[in-house]
């Protein structure tokens, strides 16, 4: 009996991924010109429209945007968990260590998920199955992906719970999700994402449902684990404060387009896109007394029938006639930045 036991600590011995030619010198994750469409009754909605970015080890990329801007769809496309149909990946590449995932066979892709790229979702309560214990759900990845037996898998589950700072992990492993508090559930989600030692973590609004003091705990944990494991982290959020705290670089999205890309200091100090500038001016800050908030007039456009030209022009204070007809490309901005605005120089100068 003992001799048939696979050595789970040695990693995935029979992983189908061993035949895939991952190039260790290639960037960790590259997204190029990703486009996702949704086919709806009203027409085709371009939820993601040519988004590109790259991520290296130990780096945190913040994807910032409002609801409906395509940030979660981008994440789901990278993970390969979009519902198709209605969604359709209309173009682009997602390369992990130089290998395009979008053209990869679904059976192989399944092993990339969790082993290489894992995801943390917003709502831990609905992401966990209420009828199985937390330990069983955590251990599932060890059983399925690594062929561990129940006992080993449970042992590993306890270790993972310990790692994410759940007190008395040994006793909590047989508890059900409803027996955990919101912050603890999010820790379980993090444990689950990290269980197979991925290189990339995508966190989709990981702390939005949590209280501020618990949010601080969870973000701290995520940052510590990222440092320790040299993870590439994609943090998807609408909270400009959280991004400023943890991200190294930022990609701001609006109506399916990446409108500004820069490192975090540059973005907050001198935004190069009117949307980013307006967002920063429209949020009340805890460290400033109440002044009149600058309002972004109007609403984000419908994705089915977007306005011609720049998608932001109906709400933009810098808009001119040119913006109504000519969609701006992503202009390079000094300092390795990019901005999708014809008048980025003017925006930065103001």
């Amino acid at each position: 009996m003992t001799d048939t036991k696979p050595d789970v600590t040695a990693g995935p011995a029979k992983s189908p991924l061993r035949n895939v030619a991952f190039d260790p010198s290639a960037p960790l994750l590259e997204v190029e010109d990703l486009a996702v469409e949704f086919h709806t009754r009203d027409g085709v909605a371009r939820a993601v429209n040519g988004v590109s970015f790259s991520l290296s080890e130990g780096e945190t990329l913040g994807i910032l945007g409002e609801s409906g801007c395509g940030k979660s769809v981008t994440a789901q496309a990278i993970m390969g968990i979009l519902d198709t149909p209605p969604a359709r990946i209309a173009g682009g590449e997602v390369r992990y260590r130089g290998v395009d995932l979008l053209s990869m066979d679904e059976k192989l892709r399944r092993h990339v998920r969790a082993n290489k790229i894992a995801m943390i979702f917003q709502d831990a309560l609905s992401s966990l199955n209420p009828v199985f214990t937390v330990g069983w759900q955590l251990a599932e990845s060890f059983r399925v992906h690594q062929g561990a037996d129940r006992k080993q898998a449970k042992q590993r589950a306890v270790e993972m719970l310990d790692l994410v700072g759940i007190p008395a992990a040994k006793n909590r492993v047989d508890d059900f999700p409803h027996q955990f508090s919101g912050g603890m559930r999010q820790r379980v989600m993090i444990a689950m994402a990290l269980s197979l030692k991925p290189d990339v973590i995508i966190a989709d609004e990981p702390t939005t449902a949590l209280d501020v003091t618990v949010q601080a705990q969870v973000m701290q944990l995520l940052a510590d684990l990222q440092q320790e494991m040299r993870l590439g982290l994609i943090l998807i959020t609408h909270d400009m404060g959280v991004v400023a705290d943890v991200a190294d670089k930022i990609c701001v999205m609006y109506a399916g387009n990446a409108v500004e890309q820069a490192d975090v200091y540059q973005t907050y100090e001198s935004p190069a896109h009117p949307y980013t500038r307006a967002l920063l001016e429209s949020i009340p800050r805890v460290d400033q007394k109440g002044q009149e908030l600058t309002v972004i007039k109007g609403l984000p456009p419908a994705l089915v029938n977007p306005p011609p030209g720049c998608l932001f022009h109906p709400r933009c204070t810098f808009a001119r006639d040119r913006c109504k007809v000519e969609a701006p490309p992503l202009y390079p901005v000094p300092g390795g930045r990019a901005s999708a605005c014809h008048y980025w120089e003017e925006v930065m100068a103001k």
Partner: protein
């Protein structure tokens, strides 16, 4: 000052003209029962446990706290949607407890609520005109002889919606517009006080500013008083004149905006403020970070003495034995419920905004 160590805090002048709402030592306990046929009460969830404050005309009182601290229950108590277990709520000099339903109905014209979720707080089968005009079905005298449709259209105009949209349904509006519908409904009876229960939490950042500004404009225009319940400390700072911090059904600290944000004296307020991420990467690592351990204890079984002591880094033996009263302490200028209250600067802006108005 007298050293009255019983319940009494500062004596509350009740009949001040300026005061619209007086809440005194209000408690709300929800019974916990066991058994199906023969229900036995096995305990109480002390959702609100002795809260007092006054609200003045044209003032905004922000109530902050984490989920489960009792701030929404307090809002429901103010609205008369729940009856307090103990304590008194006086609206415009009228005691709300023990009123006959007809009297209650009349009094409710003066206090209205804006709810958090603009998606579930509007009936999807009613038109906007019916939603905003529904209060007039209950209080026809509030129309004062005017035509209902016209009044509704005026209200829509006031909150920045197109008056021609009276016949549309809620699903035809965006989140921010729906919240405006909710605000128009609350305004329809010309109340003196509006309870805002997390009114902007469900909105996107770019829309949030529109609604926050609308609240401020309406306050100036109609002389409204707000009780603004929210968990977002930045929004509360922006809109409030005074702020009350709650934890497990108790008031931890109350003071004006400068006192609470500039020199918080209660450890919980300090921890709460330090946990709010500031949208400025230059503050990374330069701020005082207090990361609390653990979670909020169950309100059914709160800790003895000070309720915050299980997560507090200052806690000593006295905190477990003696409950700290909400009173002005030696080193501070505003009431704080901590034995060791001491001001501590948590938030320091690198570039101080110039021209601070008093």
């Amino acid at each position: 000052m007298t050293t009255d160590t019983t319940r009494a805090q500062e004596p509350l002048p009740v009949d001040d003209d300026d005061v619209v709402l007086t809440v005194r030592d209000v408690k709300k306990y929800f019974p916990l029962t066991q058994g199906i046929v023969f229900k036995r009460t096995i305990g109480h969830v002390k959702a609100v446990d002795g809260v007092s404050f006054q609200l003045h005309k044209g003032e905004t009182l922000g109530i902050v706290g984490e989920s489960g601290c009792g701030k929404s229950t307090l809002g429901r108590l103010l609205m008369g949607l729940e009856a307090p277990t103990e304590g008194s709520i006086r609206l415009l000099g009228h005691e709300m407890a023990g009123l006959k339903p007809s009297q209650m109905r009349a009094l409710r014209r003066d206090i209205q609520i804006v709810l958090q979720d603009p998606y579930s707080s509007l009936d999807p089968r009613m038109t906007v005109g019916d939603i905003v005009g529904e209060p007039f079905d209950i209080h026809p005298q509030a129309l004062e002889g005017r035509e209902r449709r016209k009044v509704v259209q005026e209200l829509l105009d006031v909150v920045g919606l197109n008056p021609d949209h009276v016949n549309r349904y809620p699903h035809q509006f965006s989140g921010g517009q729906r919240q405006r519908i909710g605000i128009a409904r609350a305004l329809s009876l010309k109340p003196k006080v509006i309870v805002c229960d997390e009114p902007v939490s469900a909105l996107d950042v770019s829309v949030q500013a529109q609604v926050v500004n609308l609240f401020e404009r309406l306050q100036d225009e109609f002389g409204l008083s707000y009780v603004f319940i929210a968990h977002d400390l930045s929004v509360v700072r922006h809109i409030s004149d005074r702020v009350m911090v709650m934890y497990l059904g108790k008031t931890m600290e109350i003071g004006n905006e400068d006192q609470i944000y500039g020199e918080p004296t209660h450890p919980y307020t300090q921890a709460l403020l330090s946990a709010v991420p500031v949208p400025d990467p230059r503050m990374k690592g330069r701020r005082d970070h207090i990361v609390l351990e653990g979670d909020v204890p169950s309100p059914a079984n709160p800790p003895s003495g000070c309720r915050f002591r299980t997560r507090c880094w200052k806690a000593e033996d006295i905190c477990a034995q003696e409950e700290p009263l909400l009173q002005i302490r030696e080193k501070a200028d505003h009431p704080s419920a901590c034995h060791f209250a001491q001001p501590r600067e948590i938030i320091r802006a690198i570039d101080e905004p110039e021209g601070q108005d008093a």
